[in-house]
């Protein structure tokens, strides 16, 4: 009887484990099924590298280069802001901070992660956007930069907590050895601990970037959503995610536009898949 129970529970858990993979597969197949129909009317090359996004015109122009670049600029900006701050914060928490302060900082970062993105977007809209317009003397503050700054706040908790874990899991002997050889605390961090934890830190950064690429609500509110080819971070951009969110309601089911939005979904899926796989390889690479 006991053995029987054990068997059932074991299989149940196995099922739970497989479920997530099964769901991902289903989602991907659905995306593929809906998105692939687009390429009977437009070539893949034109879809990815064309410059005009006019989805509701007749005939529609469904070319997503401006959207890809929009996502790229916002993500790049967010990475430049969040990586140094995030990694610095992780080092401070793991190595320097007093245990009491450490607890407070960790709680604060968890709280930051819990703020809904629509709230960040709203705060950005009323505080950051006018400020960006003023400081850079721009025609409008709804730019990629505004999006980057707000998204950096969202990427930071991921980066900090994973990088901190990586630093924490370095064997104590490394640090002790370095200090015993006469290195200062900073030299130990910079020359010994950071290289030792580098794979974990890269993984942290990749996962943070993944979070930024997939973010929708905040960017839709503060990046201006203009589908032009951006050549600087101080211009309005339209991201892949915001396009899907803004246009899904309008797209007639079964139309070219509808398929194009699913094709954008595939592009996003592939991007985040690549990022996650990269993060995973780094995470499992043992020094």
């Amino acid at each position: 009887m006991r053995k029987y129970k054990e068997f059932v529970i074991e299989k149940l858990i196995l099922l739970c484990g497989l479920a997530s993979i099964f769901f991902v597969l289903l989602i991907f197949l659905f995306l593929l099924k809906e998105g692939i129909s687009l390429f009977s009317t437009i070539t893949l090359k034109r879809f990815l590298f064309g410059k005009n996004w006019y989805p509701i015109s007749d005939p529609a122009e469904l070319e997503i280069l401006p959207l890809i670049l929009g996502s790229f600029w916002v993500t790049l900006g967010a990475a430049i802001i969040s990586i140094p701050i995030g990694v610095g914060c992780a080092i401070y928490i793991a190595e320097v901070a007093h245990p009491k302060l450490k607890e407070i900082l960790k709680t604060g970062i968890e709280l930051l992660a819990a703020i809904p993105s629509v709230v960040l977007g709203f705060i950005g809209m009323v505080t950051l956007v006018p400020w960006v317009k003023e400081v850079f003397n721009l025609p409008t503050g709804l730019t990629a930069l505004s999006g980057s700054v707000m998204l950096a706040f969202m990427a930071m908790p991921t980066i900090v907590s994973i990088a901190e874990d990586a630093l924490y899991s370095i064997p104590k002997t490394y640090k002790e050895g370095s200090l015993a050889l006469g290195a200062t605390h900073w030299q130990t961090i910079y020359r010994v601990l950071l290289p030792a934890a580098s794979s974990g830190i890269v993984a942290a950064v990749m996962l943070g970037v993944g979070r930024v690429i997939g973010e929708t609500m905040a960017v839709m509110m503060i990046t201006g959503n203009a589908a032009l080819l951006p050549h600087s971070i101080l211009q309005p951009v339209r991201t892949l995610t915001a396009t899907i969110a803004a246009e899904m309601g309008e797209a007639v089911v079964g139309s070219e536009h509808y398929f194009a939005l699913f094709a954008i979904g595939i592009v996003l899926f592939i991007i985040s898949f690549v990022i996650n796989v990269t993060a995973d390889t780094f995470l499992h690479k043992k020094k």
Partner: protein, 284 residues
């Protein structure tokens, strides 16, 4: 007391259970953001008079409303543009028969920041501004400042109407598009906020959103015709060049509660509400 509880329970049941909603006690209205306030005002007045009925109003954009009507998730869809041929075909395929009712008129106001010295434009100038051919206020007699174009998102009936009737001047063969530089804002309110905070901005929305923080532009059909300001009397008289009909779509000719509500919208009282919410009634 007991009776009150029953009403409350029934009311919450009618909100919570979709099956109950089909019983004809409640209506779901979806669609045009432009018409949300108007629709809400109608619904409130109607429910005041018929306390046993429940009418839920949500926005989302004209396209969203029509999509919902087609997929059967709303009873009435508001739209600030005509239903497209494609949408009719799709609806028929799903056994839905969109029935069009004109319920009011709306003037589209073009607005700029109050400090902007430009106060009148022709339709041609507007088209050139929004397609990007004119990009500095200097060319229109204003300050030497870049024009910031503000538009609604593509799911907005206002966006579609403005493109077809201002940018393309009603010519179905025209290929004019909004300049790619145009910022796409998710709501009329967001657009109003951006205009009131940006001295180089120009945008458009339904007349109802005009406030002292934005300056409406007087528009002329061409250089020879007079410049007309977006006011209700000018829309009624047909002088203001950018006005559009507001529609309501139902599945087939309205029956039951939907008919009762449609009749109310078109009644004298309903049309007074149209005027009160800064739109233009269809019947005098």
């Amino acid at each position: 007391m007991f009776k009150k509880w029953i009403v409350l329970i029934l009311l919450s049941a009618s909100i919570l259970s979709p099956s109950f909603a089909k019983d004809g006690n409640s209506i779901q209205i979806k669609g045009s953001d432009t018409m949300v306030n108007l629709s809400q005002a109608w619904a409130e007045k109607f429910m005041e008079k018929n306390p046993n009925n429940f009418i839920a109003v949500t926005g989302g954009g004209s396209g969203t409303g029509i999509s919902s009507l087609i997929s059967g998730t709303c009873d009435i869809s508001n739209s600030s543009r005509d239903i497209k041929e494609k949408e009719v075909v799709l609806a028929k395929k799903r056994g839905v028969n969109p029935y069009e009712i004109k319920v009011g008129l709306d003037g589209l106001a073009v607005v700029v920041h109050p400090s902007n010295p430009v106060s009148k434009l022709t339709l041609q100038q507007l088209a050139d501004i929004f397609t990007g051919k004119i990009s500095n206020w200097k060319e229109l007699g204003g300050k030497d400042q870049k024009i910031v174009l503000l538009s609604r998102e593509v799911n907005s009936g206002t966006h579609v109407y403005f493109k077809e009737h201002v940018l393309r001047k009603g010519d179905p063969n025209s290929r004019e598009e909004f300049a790619p530089e145009a910022l796409m804002l998710p709501s009329s309110q967001a657009l109003a906020d951006e205009v009131s905070g940006n001295s180089g901005a120009i945008g458009y929305y339904g007349m109802g959103y005009i406030s002292p923080k934005q300056k409406p532009i007087s528009v002329a059909k061409n250089e020879k015709s007079p410049y007309i300001s977006p006011k209700i009397e000018n829309v009624i008289s047909g002088k203001y060049p950018i006005s559009r009909p507001l529609f309501t779509y139902t599945n087939g000719t309205p029956t039951g509660l939907v008919k009762k509500f449609v009749d109310f919208m078109l009644s004298k009282e309903g049309q007074e509400i149209v005027l009160k919410t800064d739109f233009v009634p269809i019947k005098k």
